[in-house]
Symmetry: C2
Subunit: 265 residues, 2 copies
C-alpha cells in the first residue's frame, strides 16, 4: 500500500480522505408540529453553514420527538398495577414507569434503579428511551418517535429539497450497554445511507478473506456526532462531512439484531 | 442560547467547535519489537501531517499486538479437552478455540459459531479478541495486548517526546454487541484523556439536573475513528482533532462495568 498524503488544508468534500464534524448550535426550543427540516435549514443559513452533497446530518431524537408531539405529561398518567409493582421494586416514579411500560413490548432485565426493555420498535434500551432531560416543564417526558426511520426519511427529503444537496440523515439517541460503562450515541432512525457495511468477502491487507465483518456505519456516525452533542449542550444537530458511502434505501430498523440471532434477548 | 457561527474554513485546533478526523495511511507491516510510536511519527512526516496539541490518536489494536509480539501460530497449539469439546459444539477450529480459551477468564455465552467471553482484562467480546484478519501467514492469529492501557501510555509518552505536542492515545478494537448487528470500534486502552465524561450534576438546557448521564468518550472516539479505519483498509491510525478535553490519568480499564453493576455478566 502506497502512502497517501494527508493535506491539512484540503477542502473537505464527499469521499475525501478526512472527515469533518460540525455542530449546528442555536436551534430554538422545538415545539409540536414544527417543520424541523426547515428550522435546521434556517439555522444553517443563519450560521453561515452551507450544506454539501453527501453530508450526513445526525439529529438528536429529542428534537424529533418534540416536533412530532411525542412528549407526555406524567401528571395525567394513571399507573397500572404493573407500574406500581415495578415502582416499589425499582424505587422509580410509578407514573414514569407507566409511560415506560406503554412504550414497551417486553422487559429484558430489571436491576436496581434500571429497567431494560424492548420497545415496540424492537430497540433494547433503558426505560424504553423515555427521558426527562431537555424537556421543559415539570413532569414532562419525551418518548421515542413512533417510527424513527420514517422521521429520518421525512427530514432528509425535506432538507434535500431546501438545500438542493444529496443528504443523509441519522436520528440518534444515547443508550447504555452491557459490560461497559457510559452511554454512547446510536442510530435509531436513518435515511439515505447504508446502516451496515458488509465487508464479508472483501480481503484484508494480508489477502485473507474477512469473514464476520459487518460494520455498524450508522452507529459509528451517531457515536462520532455524540462527541459534539454532549447531552446538556443544546447541540441537537451535527453534520458529518467527507464520508464515502453509496446512496441507499436502508433503514435503521435493520440494525436491530433478529431475536433468532441474539444470544442476549 | 445564542447561535454560534460555524466557519467552514476556520483552522481546526484543540477545543474548537468542529472536529476533524484524519487517516494516517501508509504504515508498513508492523513487526515484533518495532517502535510503533516512532513508525507513526515517521509516517506522519512522510505524509506531511503535523500533529497538534490535543490531537487524539486512535490506534488499531492489531498493530499494537504485532509490535508487542502478541501473535501466535495455531500450528504449535495443542487443543485442550475444553477446546475440543467447544470445537465440536461451535464448529470452529479447535486450535483457534485453544488460543481463545488461553485468553479467557470466563465464558459468558456460547451460540452457533460464536463464543462470547470475558478476557483476562475483563473485556467482554467474541473470541477474546483473538483474530485472524490482517495477520500475515497461514494459521497465525493476533491476541489482544496484555495491558492495552500500558501500551497506550507508552505510545503517548513516546509520541509526545517525538512531536513536542500534548497528545492522547486510544487503542481500539472492533466488538460486536447484543441486540444490534454490526461491529463498532471501542476503546480497549487509553492514555491522556478522560475515558468517561461524567455530566451528572450538570444541567440540561431546560435547567433540569442530568441524572444518569455519563458519556463514554473514549468509545465514541474509537467509533468515530472506525469511520475511516474500516477493517481491511490498512488504516490502523486515525487522528481526531478539535476535541475539548482535560488532561487525565484515566485508563480504559475504567470503562469496564464492574460485575456488581452489570445485569448481563
Amino acid at each position: 500500500m502506497r502512502p497517501r498524503p494527508v493535506h491539512l488544508s484540503s477542502p473537505a468534500s464527499c469521499g475525501k480522505d478526512s472527515l469533518q464534524i460540525f455542530p449546528l448550535p442555536g436551534l430554538p426550543e422545538i415545539r409540536r408540529g414544527q417543520d424541523l427540516a426547515a428550522l435546521i435549514y434556517r439555522q444553517s443559513r443563519r450560521s453561515r453553514f452551507a450544506f454539501a452533497d453527501c453530508d450526513v446530518l445526525i439529529v438528536a431524537q429529542k428534537i424529533v420527538s418534540k416536533a412530532e408531539g411525542r412528549v407526555v405529561s406524567l401528571h395525567g398518567l394513571k399507573p397500572s398495577a404493573d407500574a406500581l409493582r415495578l415502582s416499589r421494586e425499582l424505587r422509580q416514579d410509578s407514573r414514569f414507569l407507566e409511560a415506560v411500560l406503554r412504550e414497551t413490548r417486553r422487559i429484558v432485565r430489571r436491576g436496581p434503579q434500571t429497567l431494560i426493555v424492548e420497545t415496540h420498535h424492537g430497540l433494547v434500551c433503558a426505560s424504553a428511551g423515555v427521558d426527562r432531560s431537555n424537556v421543559p416543564g415539570k413532569d414532562r417526558v419525551a418518548l421515542l418517535p413512533r417510527n424513527p426511520d420514517a422521521s429520518a426519511r421525512k427530514i432528509a427529503a425535506r432538507l434535500r429539497k431546501l438545500t438542493g444537496k444529496r443528504l443523509a440523515v441519522v436520528i440518534s439517541d444515547t443508550f447504555g450497554r452491557p459490560w461497559r460503562l457510559g452511554l454512547t450515541n446510536v442510530a435509531i432512525g436513518a435515511a439515505g445511507l447504508p446502516v451496515l457495511l458488509d465487508l464479508r468477502g472483501s480481503r484484508d491487507r494480508a489477502g485473507k478473506r474477512l469473514h464476520a465483518t459487518i460494520l455498524a456505519l450508522a452507529d459509528d456516525l451517531a457515536a462520532a456526532a455524540g462527541l459534539l452533542m454532549g447531552k446538556g449542550d443544546g447541540i441537537p444537530v451535527v453534520v458529518i462531512r467527507g464520508l464515502r458511502y453509496p446512496a441507499s434505501r436502508d433503514s435503521a430498523a435493520r440494525i436491530i439484531r433478529p431475536a433468532s440471532q441474539d444470544l442476549f434477548r
